[in-house]
């Protein structure tokens, strides 16, 4: 009696289920709090008198707090759980053993993660940009870098959730050690971290120079999108080949 499940329909179904599973009061409260802390720091900085250049202050603050901490961590919490939790608790079988392709499952989970991560990161970052009087260029740069960062991190962490148990721990290790320390060693290392691209978007659109943020705007936008696409392809391959509980 089973009928045809088109890829678009499969994406819709995966999206709806994953979104519903990801929304928990604990997750939302914790991540809202992190965003609120970032915004509160920006408001405090914006209210202080000892700033020489509000745009530079804003770019550095948003880069250091927003794109080093808030964006990757929010994306990690949602994206690694999107399919990772279902893989670990055994509910993945309810999407996997179905007459439909597996790649839409990964795409639906990725979109669900983005849906939750974007408002929880962009709202506090835009509030921060406004609070420090960074001007419209900083707001535009923050929004573009935020979208690109969430899209790329979400795809990477959806894949991570399918590859590893305790993916949130591995993801934190990646964010803190690779993106936070290793990628700061030089321009080549920075190119192997999403942070190098979000930083370059901020630099390109505000003309404020940041260390290791020297990529052109097209490169800084396109490479993370390519990374996201490759991560989703790998997630689909992994879904197809993996053992399901």
């Amino acid at each position: 009696m089973s009928g045809v499940v088109t890829p678009v329909r499969a994406i819709q179904l995966s999206y709806g289920i994953v979104l519903r599973q990801l929304i928990t009061r604990g997750r939302l409260a914790a991540l809202l709090l992190v965003g609120a802390v970032v915004a509160a720091i920006a408001i405090a900085v914006g209210a202080s008198d000892n700033r020489t250049d509000p745009v530079e202050t804003g770019v550095r603050l948003i880069s250091d707090l927003g794109f080093t901490t808030l964006v990757p961590i929010v994306a990690l919490v949602f994206a690694s759980a999107a399919l990772g939790d279902m893989r670990e608790d055994g509910t993945l079988v309810y999407l996997w053993l179905r007459p439909m392709d597996r790649w839409p499952i990964a795409v639906g989970a990725w979109l669900a993660s983005i849906t939750l991560s974007l408002p929880l990161t962009l709202v506090p970052l835009v509030v921060s940009a406004v609070a420090v009087d960074g001007g419209s260029d900083l707001v535009r740069a923050t929004v573009l870098a935020g979208v690109i960062g969430v899209v790329a991190y979400s795809a990477l962490f959806v894949l991570l959730g399918l590859l590893l148990k305790n993916s949130i721990v591995w993801g934190l290790g990646y964010i803190l050690i690779w993106e936070g320390i290793v990628a700061a060693f030089g321009s080549f290392a920075a190119k192997l971290a999403i942070r190098g691209y979000t930083r370059s978007i901020l630099t390109s659109l505000t003309d404020i120079n940041l260390d290791l943020g020297d990529l052109s705007l097209p490169v800084a936008v396109i490479v993370p999108l390519v990374v996201a696409a490759v991560a989703l392809v790998l997630a689909a391959v992994r879904l197809h080949a993996m053992d399901v509980a």
Partner: protein, 325 residues
């Protein structure tokens, strides 16, 4: 199906059962290992329409075998054909399988109706709402209950899983311990439903580690123990085998030595070992032993304190079947 058969012990039973090419499920020399652990070892069988019970103790490999059949994990060696195809790679066949997994995992924030409706939608059913209501009614659950399934009892969750497995009217139902947590009334109801589906031409494979459950599930049984197919056949033959196998009985009595001599003299036991105030006896005819032990004890002037079978559990039956192979 073959008679009860540790195959090596009964030459009339083939050691490698022939696979029926028209079977709905054909498992051919399947082995599944996880690292050094062999979960399923060289299992071969085929089944057609109707209810077939898969009986085995916990950890015997039943769930792994079901996972291999559904394509959830690939066999290490051997082949599995389900409805003529490999479920792991054939999308159409996946739409003809209904699985009740053993793990108690559901989308806990959804209502029962929404959970089953999602199952229908992921099977491409157009009127998923009606389909969900129909099967929820079939398993005696309220489709309008708004409570999330995370708040349901174990038995209700089992029925939600069953409804989700039935919603697309699959040709093959693989039910891993589906009666766990159900009360006796619901258990009877579900067993009737299984038989009804079997009578309608569906193929149902139902696992259990409870012998009494298997007795009511149907006459066809596959027994799996330690990852191997220990026996296949009719349930009544399994029951007979249980009664006929050697039994070990502990007899606590004053004057154990005299009692042992009398039991041997009357040919009631195969062997006896004597402790200070008890005997351990082996017998092939437990009924005859039971009828005579009190009489013999009285004749010997021995007072019996306790007569206790030490191997009257299902585990020992499985062990016996495996050892006979």
């Amino acid at each position: 199906m073959a008679d009860w058969a540790p195959p090596a012990a009964q030459p009339d039973v083939p050691s490698s059962p022939v696979i029926d090419p028209n079977a709905m499920v054909a498992v051919d020399n399947v082995t599944k290992s996880f690292g050094d652990v062999v979960a399923v070892s060289d299992v071969t069988f085929s089944v057609g329409p109707g209810v077939t019970a898969l009986l085995g103790p916990n950890g015997a490999g039943k769930s792994t075998l079901f996972r291999v059949m559904c394509g959830l994990t690939a066999p290490t060696s051997g082949t599995v054909r389900v409805l003529g195809a490999d479920a792991r790679n054939d999308r159409a066949v996946r739409g003809r399988i209904g699985l009740v997994p053993q793990q108690d995992a559901l989308f806990d924030r959804l209502s029962a109706h929404r959970f089953v409706e999602v199952s229908a939608q992921t099977h491409g059913i157009v009127d998923a709402d009606s389909a969900a209501r129909r099967v929820l009614d079939l398993v005696d659950l309220d489709a309008d209950e708004a409570k999330p399934v995370g708040a349901y009892s174990k038995g209700m969750r089992q029925r939600v899983k069953l409804a989700a497995a039935l919603v697309h009217e699959p040709d093959l139902l693989i039910l891993d311990e589906p009666l766990t947590g159900l009360d006796p009334v619901q258990r009877n109801r579900m067993i009737r439903l299984f038989h009804q589906l079997g009578d309608d031409g569906k193929c149902l494979l139902v696992s259990s580690h409870v012998l009494d459950e298997v007795a009511r599930l149907g006459s066809r049984v596959l027994v799996i123990a330690q990852g191997r197919l220990a026996a296949t056949g009719d349930y009544r033959d399994l029951r007979g085998l249980m009664d006929d196998r050697p039994h070990r009985i502990r007899v606590a009595a004053d004057g154990a030595r005299a009692l042992a001599a009398a039991l041997v003299a009357r040919d009631l036991v195969n062997g006896v070992s004597i402790a200070v105030d008890s005997l351990m006896v082996d017998t092939n005819d437990v009924d005859r032993f039971g009828r005579h032990i009190a009489i013999v004890a009285k004749e010997c002037g021995v007072r019996l304190r306790e007569v206790e079978p030490t191997d009257d559990d299902l585990e020992s039956v499985f062990r016996y079947l495996v050892e006979r192979r």
